[in-house]
């Protein structure tokens, strides 16, 4: 079995690429952190890697809406490569800004669902705090295959409120919801749901399950020392999420 390689593109303003690489390496993958200019010049190609991971940060300074200009890259410069990757069911994960880009590029919630957006938080403003995430029961996404219980990790964003045209059409595409520490429904309550997302949805998958996007940062909780409670809490280490993606392409 060869070690799968994760492509991590870095746009101007991307900033959580190193943690994302660390998380995938901990899960047994190798990683390539590549400036987007390398992809544009053809010096790096999606086809040479087994997983695509879009990291958090402020690509292009969040100009014209968070993730919009990175989405434009996906839709213009790399449209063919992205289309090919989706067709061959390449696992794709977008975290925070990466999620925003996947949504703005139309890859999430994807064809067959109404449009969605990640709008300004309610209450407004950038928010950095730890949240608890429940994986959606019954999801067939390979990314969620090994997750047993709730995950805990920080959010750090100002534009993470999921809003959709048609909630029904999102149905089977929910990946994670914000829940209380004991797993109870957030019911829209701040700060359990930190940004006012509809139905407390924190992450989405596409219809195939291979494309995952979420606002919180699971890559920031893959070591026990990442947890601010340091042993005073139920855990919720997120390594299993990255391991699931790696396992899916290692089989």
């Amino acid at each position: 079995m060869t070690t799968p390689s994760v492509l991590i593109p870095i746009a101007p303003g991307t900033n959580r690429n190193q943690e994302l690489a660390d998380a995938f390496e901990l899960a047994g993958a190798s990683t390539a952190q590549v400036p987007i200019s390398d992809l544009r010049r053809g010096e790096a190609k999606l086809a040479d890697h087994q997983i695509l991971a879009l990291p958090g940060g402020f690509s292009y300074g969040d100009a014209l809406g968070a993730g919009r200009l990175l989405a434009l890259d996906l839709e213009t410069w790399f449209a063919d490569q992205v289309r090919e990757a989706v067709l061959r069911q390449m696992p794709v994960i977008g975290i925070c800004n990466g999620f925003q880009a996947l949504v703005r590029a139309g890859l999430l919630p994807g064809t067959g669902a109404g449009a969605a957006t990640l709008a300004a938080n309610v209450p407004p403003g950038f928010e950095c705090r730890w949240v608890t995430l429940a994986p959606e029961a019954g999801s067939s996404s390979p990314w969620l295959a090994d997750i047993r219980g709730p995950l805990r990790c920080p959010v750090a964003h100002g534009e993470g409120r999921l809003a959709v045209e048609d909630l029904e059409s999102i149905g089977g595409r929910t990946a994670f919801r914000y829940v209380s520490d004991d797993g109870g429904s957030a019911d829209g309550r701040y700060p359990i749901n930190p940004n006012g997302s509809v139905d407390d949805i924190a992450g989405l998958v596409d219809s195939s399950g291979w494309i995952l996007g979420l606002m919180p940062h699971p890559e920031d909780h893959v070591l026990d020392r990442h947890d601010p409670l340091r042993g005073r809490s139920p855990g919720g280490n997120c390594t299993q999420l990255f391991a699931a993606g790696v396992t899916a392409v290692s089989a």
Binding site: I10, P12, G13, N15, R16, Q18, E19, D22, P35, I36, S37, D38, G56, G57, F58, Y60, G61, D62, A63, L64, G65, R68, L69, L72, T76, W77, A115, A116, T117, A119, A120, P124, G125, F126, E127, C128, R129, W130, P154, A156, A163, V164, E165, H217, E219, D220, L223, R225, H226, P228, L229, R230, R232
Partner: protein
């Protein structure tokens, strides 16, 4: 003032058009800091202020009509869910009506507009090319306002004239004129000026130079037989400014019965030299101090102030303050890994009629500064891990913004010697007129008219460009591609190239320097600060330029280091500067100043009739001591994944931590670093020497609480002071420096860097002077050998023992209790304590032995506040055995070297052996209540209510 409408400029030549698009729906912020609430502060009846986005775009017809426009606006301006777009004129016809005013606000030409630039780039990629774009906002003000009221509201609350313009109706877009002509080089007639003429020259050009200094310049140019150019005069003014040369801290000072041979040399550097710490790798000589971390890596640390710009344009000032200190760290080849910020504001509830002309309301400054600090750190991806927010009446006219940064670099990886023949490479943003005169501006006092004349000194940062600089510089460092590096701080290229070329000499051709827009005079290009730029001395430019291209950062060769000891700057064929670097850097006549010896005799304490419980809760709600968690949540303190102790912790993440701890990314030793901050503005009013000692002690205490080894600490000093030409003000500064010196030696903790911000004084139109209360921020950086044993924030388990390290009684003079009462009741202030150092070591030893479950330092508000915060953080009870009637000194007194420590009863003996000065003083209980002696009880709900201003979660 509103711009006058000029409707005919809506289209210009050829098939180029300018259109305005509004994107809605507008957003109304109904919060107490929102625009409607601000309007109501003025007594205007405003129900809501909706804010829409406003885009001005210039380009060919094909892109700005029909399908082209549909694509441009639909894909790049409005979100496909929940937003719409419409031509601005059409929007106006729908929305305008009785009881509504429509106001368009846009940036002034030349102010950084990243979104506008990105829109131009993205439009080209979409195949709908445009020429220029700028992004502003349209306000729909719901309320009956007359013209005067609208003008007041816009001017005082809803726009900032320093960077923005506004208009009802058509707003001229902020496009710069591509055909603007550049001014040339002027010669300054200096030779025949007398003292009055020299003073007038300094004032007219805003040089901030004394007549004595200009006399020296006059003599120099007389000796070389010519007159200086405008560029030469400006270069000398910048290099000799307070900001760049620290002339006050180097001045010979005469006191009534003493003299000081330079405060920097006699106190701050002297302490560092006396301690002679082996872990200090570089102190005071570079952009930042450098200290050893582990066997492979060093840490760089620096803190800066950005007070004047933040007073005028709070967001931009604070934003570029963070950007500047991050660049200082990059300027010693270190990768930035942590940001700190200490913010000082006037009272939130200051009545408008008490607000002096030319001053922004403290609430507006607070909102803007916090947003500016958060924006830069969040976007650049460096965690903001430590800070404080302080309030004092003097901060109304002189708000203070301290920003610090820690970086990491492999040992011996920072080269510092440019070689003759090295190319001068500029990395980063192009030069504009914003940022001209930053150093001289920040070295002068402010007045009501300052906002008008200083507009060009205030900038908007671009953290995305600086993030690129980090990537390029770190890669270039690792590949050993440069011989020296520095940042373009205040003074721009003149200070960066000037400092680097101090010994070898340098030649620059300004024609090669990239500009944001045409029309700049050569001296402006040379002097403009322009954020987000670094200068490198490079033996072979090619690999550096390739690296920059890969990371999408602009890089240009603008000259070379020569070896001839001259600074020569040309603009094409014309010579702007031709100076001997020895004169430039060593020619400044030394300043001589007179200082008074401060009177610090304290009266006996007057009795006060105080209800203990009320006082305890009021202290928890004190504007400087209450929870600032809501602010901290707007800063990313998690990015880089190394944060171990966050600014707020405890079981619910809402209890205040003391020192914050980080495990730097990319290391293998497993060690951590702890940052402690010390600052006490209340003491600054009475005794600056005691204040300095207390601030050093507090910083050390906080670092120790984070698990740092007190035998290996390094310190930063950051002074914000009034006008040092006033002997009383200077006397307080001398005393503070002495306190710093003595405390550093007492704790064996050397200063490795520092910065002084002077002239923090507001001069009213009638000549009345408002100096800032002396404010000193001490930052302690420590090494945590074993992060595993770092104590938790908040008490952890019922049944554990509580120990007090340090005296039971504190001092009430200069305490926060008196600050709360609004009266100096007299009594001694906390004095330097020779035993405090031993107590820091005891606590550290117990932590290192794994005996400390949690710890909290006894700081502002004394034992009562410490116990209450600690219990609240852990959501457990704390009982302190203080007898039936504890005194005010016991409950609220403040003083150095005091801690509360939580220890397992079974480990009492081991703890006592390591901390012999500790006494068992109480226990942790499960009853959700703090008991301070037999009769004073406060519940956790009452604490939460006071501390957070709301019920417990």
């Amino acid at each position: 003032m509103p711009d006058s409408p000029t409707p005919d400029s809506a289209s210009s030549g050829n098939d180029q058009h300018t259109i305005a698009i509004v994107v809605g729906p507008g957003v109304d912020d109904p919060s107490p800091g929102g625009p409607a609430a601000q309007a109501n502060l003025f007594g205007f009846e405003v129900e809501a202020v909706e804010e829409c986005r406003l885009f001005h775009v210039r380009g060919p017809d094909a892109s700005l009509s029909g399908d082209g426009l549909e694509q441009l606006a639909g894909s790049l301006m409005a979100d496909r869910v929940g937003q719409w777009w419409i031509a601005a004129a059409q929007h106006e016809s729908f929305v305008a009506g009785d009881g509504r005013r429509l106001v368009d606000v846009g940036l002034r030409p030349g102010v950084t507009d990243r979104e506008g630039a990105e829109l131009v780039r993205a439009a080209a990629e979409l195949g709908v090319p445009i020429d220029a774009a700028s992004v502003g906002r349209r306000l729909i003000i719901h309320g009956d306002l007359d013209d005067g009221q609208l003008d007041t509201l816009m001017t005082r609350a809803l726009h900032n004239d320093v960077i923005e313009r506004w208009a009802e109706g058509f707003l001229e877009p902020a496009f710069t004129d591509p055909g603007a002509k550049s001014a040339g080089i002027d010669t300054i007639a200096l030779r025949d000026l007398d003292d009055d003429g020299l003073a007038e020259l300094s004032k007219m050009r805003r040089l901030g130079m004394s007549v004595a200094e200009l006399r020296t310049v006059q003599a120099h140019f007389a000796s070389v037989g010519r007159e200086p150019t405008d560029g030469e005069i400006e270069t000398i003014a910048q290099t000799w400014s307070e900001h760049c040369s620290h002339k006050t801290f180097r001045a010979q000072i005469t006191l009534p019965d003493d003299s000081v041979d330079g405060m920097l040399k006699q106190y701050l550097r002297a302490a560092t030299e006396t301690i002679d710490a082996p872990w200090v790798r570089s102190a005071f000589v570079d952009n930042a101090g450098i200290v050893a971390f582990d066997d492979e890596f060093d840490l760089a640390i620096k803190a800066e102030t950005h007070n004047h710009p933040s007073a005028l344009e709070p967001f931009g000032g604070a934003n570029t303050g963070v950007g500047g200190v991050v660049r200082d760290i990059l300027g010693v080849s270190a990768k930035p890994i942590a940001i700190t910020d200490i913010l000082c504001f006037g009272p939130d509830d200051l009545p408008l009629h008490e607000l002096p002309d030319g001053v922004l309301h403290p609430r507006r400054i607070r909102t803007g500064v916090i947003a500016g600090v958060g924006d830069y750190g969040n976007k650049i991806g460096v965690p903001n891990i430590a800070g404080a927010i302080l309030h004092d009446a003097s901060y109304t006219t002189t708000p203070l913004v301290f920003a610090g940064c820690v970086g990491i670099l492999p040992r011996d990886s920072h080269p510092t010697e440019p070689q003759p023949g090295d190319a001068i490479v500029v990395l980063g943003g192009a030069v504009g007129r914003d940022g001209v005169g930053g150093a001289t501006f920040s070295s002068q006092t402010m007045g009501a008219e300052t906002a008008e004349i200083a507009g060009s000194s205030v900038q908007i940062g671009d953290p995305i460009v600086e993030k690129g600089l980090i990537d390029v510089v770190v890669a270039a460092r690792d590949a050993k591609l440069y011989h020296a590096i520095t940042d373009c701080g205040a003074g721009g290229l003149s200070s960066a190239v000037g400092e680097m070329g101090e010994t070898v000499g340098a030649e620059v051709d300004l024609a090669l320097v990239p500009r944001k827009y045409p029309g700049l005079a050569p001296w402006e290009v040379w002097l403009s600060e322009a954020q987000e730029r670094m200068v490198l001395a490079v033996p072979d430019p090619e690999p550096v330029l390739a690296l920059a291209k890969r990371w999408q950062v602009d890089a240009t060769v603008i000259g070379l280091f020569t070896g001839d000891g001259r600074l020569k700057v040309t603009d094409g064929e014309d010579t702007l500067v031709d100076l001997d670097t020895t004169f430039l850097h060593d020619g400044r006549p030394r300043l001589g100043l007179a200082a008074d010896t401060p009177v610090t005799i304290r009266s006996t304490r007057k009795p006060a009739d105080i209800d203990l419980k009320t006082a305890c809760l009021a202290l928890l709600a004190h504007p400087s001591l209450r929870s600032h968690e809501a602010v901290i949540r707007t800063y990313d303190h998690e990015v880089l994944g190394g944060t171990l102790v966050r600014p707020y912790g405890g079981v619910a993440g809402d209890g205040p931590a003391d020192g914050t701890v980080l495990i730097p990314p990319g290391i293998s030793s497993g060690k951590g670093l702890a940052v402690g901050i010390g600052v006490n503005v209340v003491l600054g009013r009475y005794d600056t020497e005691a204040m300095a000692w207390a601030a050093v002690d507090e910083a050390v205490r906080n670092a120790v609480c984070g698990g740092a080894d007190p035998a290996r600490l390094s310190l930063l000093d950051n002074f914000s002071w009034g006008n040092p030409t006033d002997p009383e003000t200077l006397g307080h500064l001398v005393a503070a420096c002495k306190g710093c010196h003595d405390a550093a030696i007492a704790f064996g903790a050397p200063f490795v860097s520092g910065k002084d911000s002077l002239f923090n004084e507001f001069v009213h139109p009638d000549g009345r002077r408002d100096p800032v209360t002396p404010t000193l921020v001490i930052t302690a950086l420590g090494i945590v050998d074993d992060p595993e044993v770092v104590p938790l924030t908040g008490v952890t388990a019922a049944g554990t023992d509580i120990w007090l390290v340090g005296p039971l009684n504190g001092a009430l003079g200069g305490s926060h209790l008196d600050d709360l009462l609004g009266e100096d009741l007299g009594g001694e202030v906390p004095r330097p304590d020779p035993d405090a150092a031993a107590r820091h070591s005891e606590v550290a030893a117990a932590i290192a032995a794994g005996l400390v479950r949690s710890v909290h330092d006894v700081a502002e508000g004394g034992l009562a506040s410490a116990a209450a915060e600690w219990a609240f953080s852990g959501r457990l009870g704390v009982e302190l055995y203080l007898g039936s009637k504890p005194t005010l000194e016991v409950l609220f007194g403040e003083g150095p070297g005091r801690y509360l420590v939580e220890v397992e009863p079974a480990q009492a003996q081991q703890f006592e052996e390591l901390a012999p000065s500790a006494r068992r003083i109480g226990a942790v209980s499960a009853e959700r209540m703090v008991r301070l002696g037999a009769n004073l009880r406060v519940t956790l709900d009452e604490i939460a209510d006071a501390y957070q201003g709301g019920a417990i979660q």
